[in-house]
Amino acid sequence: MTNKYSESLERKIKETTKLGLDVVKEAAEDRLMTLSVGPQHPGSGHFRFTIKVDGDYIVYCDPDPGYVHRGEEKMCEYRNFIQNIPHLERPVIHDSTNITYSYSLAVEELLGIEVPRRGQFIRAIASELNRQVYTLYWLAIYGIFLGHSTMFMWPAGDRELFIDLLAALTGARVTHAFNIPGGVRNDMPEGFKEKCLEYINYFEKRLKEYEDIFYNNPLFRQRTENVGILPKEDAIDLGVTGSVLRASGVPHDVRKVEPYDVYNEIDFKVQYMKTCDSFARAYVPFLDMRESCNITRQLLDKMPESGEVRLKLQSNPKGLIGEAYKRVESGRGALSYYIVSDGSSKPYRVKISVGSFRNILALPHLLVGSHLGDMPSIYWALNYWPVEADR
């Protein structure tokens, strides 16, 4: 709804703020109220951003991460390759298989080894299940942010199925420490394949119910459609990744673009939408979940019946001198590791580039000029996980 007030406000915003970084002029400042959507806010997570509000419109936004910064990259230099796995999966406890998957791929390149085939399949299956777990949790929190408590309870309940599967496979509900350089820790238990297929069949029926109740709800659509529009050029320019990018019309998925492990044998389609608004950013992960069920079925089919799952390494392997850069598609987007090795058993430098850190650049871009009531739906649709961005 444009009216004279919002047009004059847009002019005022354009002339006083550039990317939200400049200080607002004095004349406008009297009417502004500074709010700190801080770590002690039910709608923010472990993250803080400062916003200035003029009535109902946001005119300035400044993200301030760093509340859970642990120094992951520095800690990696003090431990050898396999000792890095437990602390590297703590940034995203739900999606922990993916954040160590990329690390394992890079270390395997530096050690010059190759993982046995069955191990590659199990790794991919664990990665897909973890993606479902993370996306369901994200969907649940999205419901809370919009005030929809059923949208919190149902995905959180269905998520338990996948967590049970992962607990049967790896021994832990979250933070599995399952992927190690050289393969996976242990083989699948008996009966896992049947149980997994049964859960996936049930889950696909539930996905249909989610679509009916959550995504086709007129109030949900009103809250998220045409809200926070990120055009395709801006999305490419700002370098966002993952579902945010795919919701703006760019069909980029690391599993299709640069297939790692056994993904070049799996037939699946990249899910993307062209509408670029918050609804698309909420709908693309749902499509991804459906596609992930499909991928898991194919992986379970094509997996070799028996074989080694882990390549036995010597107990403190030294890396070849060089560097490696590997990336993996996690729940938030492309997760890449850049590891430099100087020939010793500890990495010289590990740099983690996570999807959350790249996506948060779009937050000031989208929030400035929008309603205060749109803040939760824009912020959480950017698929931002605060702990991962801080590392």
Binding site: H69, G71, E73, T241, E265, S336, L361
Partner: protein, 176 residues
């Protein structure tokens, strides 16, 4: 909800290692070196990876050429590494392309080096908008000042950080 079937790579169902042809990587480098002659230096090419070294004075024009001519439109990450024995800090920009499909799998590592004790580099923010927060993090973690970046400030570290930039090799974690 349309979708796209990307059949760029031919898939084989057995896991024989396909010999990488490295054509795209070499063609990228040849285009780059034909424009900039000896200002750029090839460090290595691997399957889907290429690393090129540039001096800090020329980095902005090289980056601009990469963006406008070759189509690498965003940076995935900016990584600074401290090499105390060579007395340099190396900053690498990993570039990738969303708009050009044939370049979507290539990571182009644009690296530059600066002195360890007084590290100044021109900021690539005018060329790539996506490096903004990454450069800010490199500033606070390694002490590299990016000229032209509007906010060389603390980002992830706590407000009362009073020590040297933590990713330098001089900084030791207490007790290790």
């Amino acid at each position: 909800m349309t979708d796209v079937n990307n059949d760029r790579k031919e898939t084989t169902s057995n896991l024989n290692i396909v010999e990488p042809d490295l054509n795209i990587e070499h063609s990228l480098y040849s285009e780059l070196s034909s424009k900039f002659k000896d200002k750029v230096q090839l460090v290595y090419t691997k399957p889907n990876r290429i690393k090129v070294y540039v001096e800090p004075e020329h980095i902005i024009e090289v980056a601009f050429f990469l963006k406008s001519q070759l189509g690498l439109d965003h940076a995935e990450s900016v990584c600074g590494t401290d090499y105390p024995n060579e007395n340099v800090i190396e900053v690498i920009y990993h570039l990738n392309s969303y708009s050009h499909e044939e370049l979507a799998s290539i990571i182009f590592a644009l690296s530059t080096k600066t002195d360890r004790n007084s590290s100044y580099l021109p900021s690539l923010l005018p060329v790539f908008k996506s490096v903004e927060y990454h450069e800010r993090e490199t500033y606070e973690m390694l002490g590299v000042y990016f000229q032209g970046h509007p906010r060389n400030e603390r980002f992830l570290l706590p407000e009362d950080w009073a020590d040297i930039p933590p990713l330098k090799k001089d900084f030791r974690i207490k007790g290790r």
